[in-house]
Subunit: 483 residues, 2 copies
Amino acid sequence: MNFAMEHTSRITHPLESLLNPRSIAVVGASSNPNKQGYRYVQHLLNFGFEGKIYPVNHRGGNILGLEVYPSISAIPEPVDYVISAIPAEHVPQLVRDCAHKGVKLLQLYTAQLGETGIPERKQLEVHIADLAHRLGIRLLGPNCMGVYRPEIGLTFRFSSAKASGDVAFISQSAGHAAEVMYRGALRGLNFSQIVSYGNAVDINETELLEYLAHDPNTKIIAAYIEGVRSRDFPRVLKIAAEHKPVIILKVGRTQAGARAVASHTGSLVGDYVVWKGLMKQCRAIPVESIEELIDTAVAFAKLPQPKGRNVGVIGSGGGGSILAADEFELHGLHVPSLPKQVSNKIKTFLDDDRMIVGNPVDVSMIIPGGWGFEELKRISKTIASHPLYQILVGDAGEWRPDTPSEISDYQAMVSMFLEVRESTKKPMAIVLRPADHTEEWRWRCFVEQQQRCLSKGVAIFPSVGQTARALGKFVSYHLASSA
Amino acid sequence: MNFAMEHTSRITHPLESLLNPRSIAVVGASSNPNKQGYRYVQHLLNFGFEGKIYPVNHRGGNILGLEVYPSISAIPEPVDYVISAIPAEHVPQLVRDCAHKGVKLLQLYTAQLGETGIPERKQLEVHIADLAHRLGIRLLGPNCMGVYRPEIGLTFRFSSAKASGDVAFISQSAGHAAEVMYRGALRGLNFSQIVSYGNAVDINETELLEYLAHDPNTKIIAAYIEGVRSRDFPRVLKIAAEHKPVIILKVGRTQAGARAVASHTGSLVGDYVVWKGLMKQCRAIPVESIEELIDTAVAFAKLPQPKGRNVGVIGSGGGGSILAADEFELHGLHVPSLPKQVSNKIKTFLDDDRMIVGNPVDVSMIIPGGWGFEELKRISKTIASHPLYQILVGDAGEWRPDTPSEISDYQAMVSMFLEVRESTKKPMAIVLRPADHTEEWRWRCFVEQQQRCLSKGVAIFPSVGQTARALGKFVSYHLASSA
């Protein structure tokens, strides 16, 4: 932990090369497609891992067209990275074989160790960790899925997104790692890496955080943490959060949660009150669910830095506008009225002076009232360009086509938002409800508009409440750091 | 407001017959399909309104095969219910025509009245209300969509659900009325009625609540309220909430929200702190978003009464289980460990005694570990049948098919949950993530499993957090009332 983070540009963190292997061996490779020992090989092949892939199984043979080696030592070329999918009792011998071969990193998908709570299994975990430490092998896990790193074609699951990005996620839970990868992709998040690190007997949250803090490809760090393994964590978190936004979902907030943590990764959760204090002191960003972690990452990944708390909202209907006003204010943002100058200008666009246009703009007043998207666009651009408003939100919330003939209206609504967004350098989020419709044509309409927004790099959110919660944290972070 | 709610079985509330018209006239009926005056006629025809439909427009002609009458008085038969889609300035004359014809209820889609904040418009609204009162016509609105009542084929929107149910929703916002109708249907909510009541110059939240409190077809009342119009509200709310669960989304919690309310329905929001006290005192159920309103209504509509706070959770992965434990406990439920007796019994089902089964059950420990759904079903049923657990949750949260070949696994997971649910009389919720996938096969798989659950009357929720929030309120309500 003495790595000098302050001189990040010149020094390479030890994890950098470990997570960039040129060759990978999968030990416990299987020809049974339902076994993880098959899937690791399959994923690396499908995802196009750039280096060599060596399946290892004492039975030999072929898996997916690759020769299977009977042991690590039988592989003719150097091996950087080994994935273990064998039972825990065989891992000590594997560690020795890896040391002999000059392997640098051993990732243990292997579980049934410390997390079982069984004394002999805990002892075996400690023995494996000690042995690896003594023999100079770094361990990732046990009880973890490993690394997703699209840049080099490394992954641990089906249909992983190919695009690299600047968000990193580290997770003690493999399920959450896969969930953030999948649901993040639906929201346009691209990752530099996702690391599932399980029981963390060697490489832990602190070392990963230290590495990511100065990884030039990572601009935003997100983490799912069950228990902290290193006393250095507060110091490293403080430095990391000074460099980049660090979004953390910490679980075990309740007794039942703490008990579930113990049987998952064998971690000690610590006191949540102390944790909250630490987060605040370090200016890290706490979140309370996977959904909120993704929402918050979307805000940081997609939006330019905000200059203040004043939101201009192009709302949905009247009720939707009110909920938006309440939600944004309750999350620490402001929804100021239109200045007289703006109202007056807007009145010149409308041929009925009884129309009320406020902030939020109640779109239902304009569209069905006989005017249309052109008027709404002029209104929205007027608000967007006024210096009072520092953040913009377009809410297509309660709008949906009722019949296929209305699809073009929905498209026009999204086009209008996109055009307003392109007219300004201010951060602008768009609220598009989830594409969870039961009718195919409506589902398709929503998916198409979401994809269209994502292809332009827009921050989209599934509800006003989620938008407000994420933007509240995003804006507070930036205003505190510029203060 | 002197209607004797205490003798509900014998006396019919005045709104009962008003909301059950045998004939409806649409004034301002139009042949332009984009106008609301066309759509009202279209909706009534499509939805199969049981009574007569009379389009009214001074131009005459035909709309959708129906003869258009030049005026209300020209209609040869009695008219119970009139929908006004004409400009506000013509409404006073319409009120007189309605009085002459013996119309009982005039629903004003017509807007641009009190909500504009313009003095002349406010005066016009007051004038209309006074005139109607004097002439014995009841008003719904202005600035509202009206009534959805599937039992008689009355609706105000496209593709309304045909099935009647026992949930009623009253809403000052037409957008929220449509949203709850649409999104409620996606969650299997069936309605006795949904009433969009807008500016509430005559029929207001209090009268509607009073009516619904003793409507035998309504078991659950939900309301979206911007401002309360009657001083009787606290008294009526108290009585209503003694009879049925009353779920209320009250907006205008912030200054910006209050301002948006004023320009939407011209309501005064009141003090939210006072409001919260009233809700608590009356044992009404406050919610803070449309999503939460729907979730809470789903819990009350679909689940039998719980006997206590102890939840048995068949969790998703390890991380998902921990989040579930935290969420349920943070929302006032308990997630107690498995009693020794249960653990011991479960061990007899498993051929590896290192397997940890707790509460929540970490399903990922069982399925990929070489066992399968049969073992999981036996484990789940053992937990479900133990008297310690009073509520059950099956969380398919982070499970999804990675390839089409895994669809059958997802189906098997849902089947397992359904079988456990059928084995018990305890309330059991199932968490199924939204069907918002971009690939058609996966979207279809989710929609099919959701529909399958809905067809069996299951309470499904899109996330663990939303489940916990809704169940927390549901359980607290029932335990307080049985205390």
